[in-house]
Amino acid sequence: MPENITFRAHLIGSINDFSDACSMGLIVRPTILVELIVTLSRFKEEGAKLIPEVYLCNDINQLLKLLPNHGLIHIGEAQATEDSIKEILKKCAPLAIGGWCIFIEGNGDLFKYGLFRDSLNPLALPIDEILLSTHSEEVKVVRVYQTAGDCVEIRNYRGNIHNIFLSHKKESSPSPTKFLSELVDAICEKVNESQKETIKTFLSKSLREALTTSHGTLVAVSNTSTTPKFLSDGVHLREPIDFAEEIYQVSQNKLQPVVLTSQSLLLKGMLNCDGVVVFSRNAKLLSYNCFIASSMEKVKPSFGGARMRAFETLCKKLGRGIYAVFIQSQDGWTDFRRNKHD
């Protein structure tokens, strides 16, 4: 008799403690979480890859009090079983774009579900940073989110985080999002202290959103206010996009916040182009679509393609024109190096 081996039982066992720690009742029982994790890890609808953020809660209205200027759309109700998860995602995931997130509210035998969003203000703090940092029993919530190919993160209001690798990745692998904050720190290193937090919030949000849909990218942070010569083969903006200045203008009500939204879209477009996107250390976007002079590409990594080779070459230039380098591979995994002697 053939024996079926699945990772389902193992996964259910692994997240049991997480589920108990949430003390949110049926809505975060292990079988529901596993259903969500597996479905979200490779979610597609009509052939399109979708990466929705899903929040499980006991009371959506309680949650939304923390998000001024929010929006809410109720979509429907379903039985509180794991079978309902696919139905909920099918109805909601195609709508969970442009800042909309899915909520599933469970407080009995029924799941109520729909979508919610924050203020859509490009400077406002991201939803997850607000909802998942309360450590309060008053606002119980769990987020389930695909952070990279075959990797889903589950995180609760108490600060417990699990990265579920649905591949052969080792348990010791870093979280795919680990390096994003380090990249943002490098880009904002020389901006005015009084503005630093706001600029970091904006760039983190914009980069995260852009990287979610990117097919892989390379970002370099220049040591100076110009693009290094060895990256001269690229598009160099005559007027670099000065995020610090624009954010200051928005905070003084001299510019509309929508300007920042449009700059975010430009950034997204640049990250989707081939080549390297170059920032300065005072949050200016200098160039994109930059390629390393071929004579310099002598580094041959043991694995990986052109992007990885370029990354290794850029790492060799740390301290010599380059301050930091960030890579995101096609499947969403990231790496980061910074010049430690600066």
Binding site: P68, N69, H70, A124, S136, K196, E197, T198
Partner: protein, 443 residues
């Protein structure tokens, strides 16, 4: 909790000017802040009957001296007290603080007693009135200041400002204000216990100062302010009125929208501790109403208010009949300020608009204003010291059937009952009790 027993500062009143002085030469002798040449000119001017010019000069000198002394506390701090968070140390106190505001600050900081503050306000009204008169009006109707008015104003200015070599200000309070952003206080700190039992004005001011520091600072100052806010808010929350609770919720929404993660997270923790998220505005639509109300109040408190009140009143009126809850307190205060008018009467053009807007108030809104806002709305309470605004107040209470509302505050209840009876003495008695409850009992 026993209120009003402990305060972080208390005005000290020393009567150095004999009450029976009536001649300009006797009074000016005490004006230590004036030069002998200025004193001489004042005496000569008054003897020649140039009352308006002399009193204008005396008032200008007194206000400059008062503002200079207040300025030693820091213009930023004065801005916090006046709800003008944009003021900074680079601003000149003489330019940015109006005469009316200087008198209010002097009273709130205990530089002058409430009675003397009232006299200073009357002096201001007198000076403003004669300054505003058209030349034709003076010539044709022969309007002029009387000698008794001039002497009284001179005496008030000398007694409260020009006669004091250095004005005593609330240094203990200023030290406490500095500690809020430079130290991390703990619950056993004597200053924290004193704060909890202090008059409402002081608790409100502490909250305003902390919110202002949180909005504007980074680094150590921000961290001290946030830690102190998390310590102090749970101790004060139950006794805070809705106006202050909305102010806290609004600050949370502001720092959240500005992407300020440290401030947002700490404010969130403080609000979660007190279950205060019902006071976070769902949207910032209320901001537009708050700005409109501020414009009305600015016009109302400036010179030529009777001409300037109409335009901002029309703006508020066109914004719709539903005033968002977070903005209701200041909107109601602005509308009532115009409707009640001042010592000289009301604006003929803005007054009917304010009246119309008051008829849009529901009983629930009246109940909210009278229970939650009026006990701290010193702008409106002070108006009841004057006959014409008091008369208008009684009319409002009668026409809007305000006696049918349930009052939690006994003084407000008595104030409304006396207003129905049109008993001015009683109304003033309860007005005074409300002021004392707000500022603490003072000499």
């Amino acid at each position: 909790m026993t209120e009003n027993k402990l305060t972080l500062w208390q005005p000290t009143e020393v009567d150095f000017l004999p009450a029976n002085l009536t001649s300009p030469s006797e009074i000016t002798e005490y004006a230590k802040q004036l030069s002998s040449r200025e004193r001489k000119q004042i005496i000569q001017g008054l003897q020649a009957g140039n009352y308006e010019i002399v009193i204008n000069f005396v008032w200008t000198k007194a206000m400059a001296a008062l503002k200079r002394e207040l300025g030693t506390l820091g213009v930023k701090f004065l801005g916090e007290m006046l709800d003008k968070p944009d003021l900074g140390e680079d601003d000149d106190v003489i330019d940015v603080v109006t005469d009316k505001e200087a008198v209010r600050l002097a009273e709130e900081l205990g530089v002058v007693s409430p009675t003397e503050a009232m006299r200073l306000r009357q002096a201001y009204e007198l000076v403003a009135h004669f300054s505003k008169l058209e030349a034709a009006e003076i010539d044709s109707e022969g309007v002029a200041m009387e000698d008794i008015e001039a002497i009284r104003t001179l005496k008030t200015c000398v007694k409260n400002i020009l006669g004091k070599p250095k004005i005593e200000v609330a240094t203990k309070f200023v030290e406490f204000r500095d500690a809020l952003e430079s130290e991390t206080l703990n619950q056993s700190d004597e200053r924290v216990s004193m704060l909890v039992t202090s008059p409402y004005f002081f608790r409100k001011l502490t909250i305003s100062i902390l919110l202002s520091v949180i909005k504007k600072n980074i680094g150590a100052k921000l961290e001290h302010a946030l830690t102190n806010f998390n310590l102090i808010l749970p101790l004060l929350w139950d006794g805070l009125r809705d106006t202050e609770k909305w102010q806290i919720g609004h600050t949370y929404a502001e720092v959240y929208s500005a992407g300020r993660s440290t401030a947002t997270n700490w404010l969130m923790q403080a609000l979660l501790k007190v279950k205060g998220f019902d006071y976070v505005p769902e949207n910032l639509r209320s901001d537009t109403f708050i700005k409109a109300a501020e414009n009305i109040l600015k016009a109302h408190e400036d010179i030529n208010n009777f001409y300037n009140e109409e335009a901002p009143m029309r703006v508020l009126m066109k914004m719709g009949s539903t005033i968002p809850f977070p903005a209701f307190s200041i909107c109601a205060s602005a509308i009532l300020a115009v409707r009640l008018g001042n010592y000289y009467g009301v604006s003929f053009t803005a007054h009917p608009l304010a009246n119309k807007m008051l008829y849009r108030f529901t009983q629930e809104q009246w109940q909210y204003y009278l229970n939650q806002c009026l006990p701290g709305d010193v702008r409106i309470l002070r108006k009841l010291e004057y006959d014409k605004p008091l008369e208008n107040w009684c009319e409002i209470v009668d026409k809007h059937k305000l006696s049918e509302i349930n009052y939690k505050n006994q003084h407000v209840n008595n104030l409304i009952s006396s207003s129905i009876e049109r008993s001015t003495n009683k109304v003033r008695k309860y007005q005074k009790l409300l002021m004392e409850a707000y500022y603490g009992k003072r000499s």
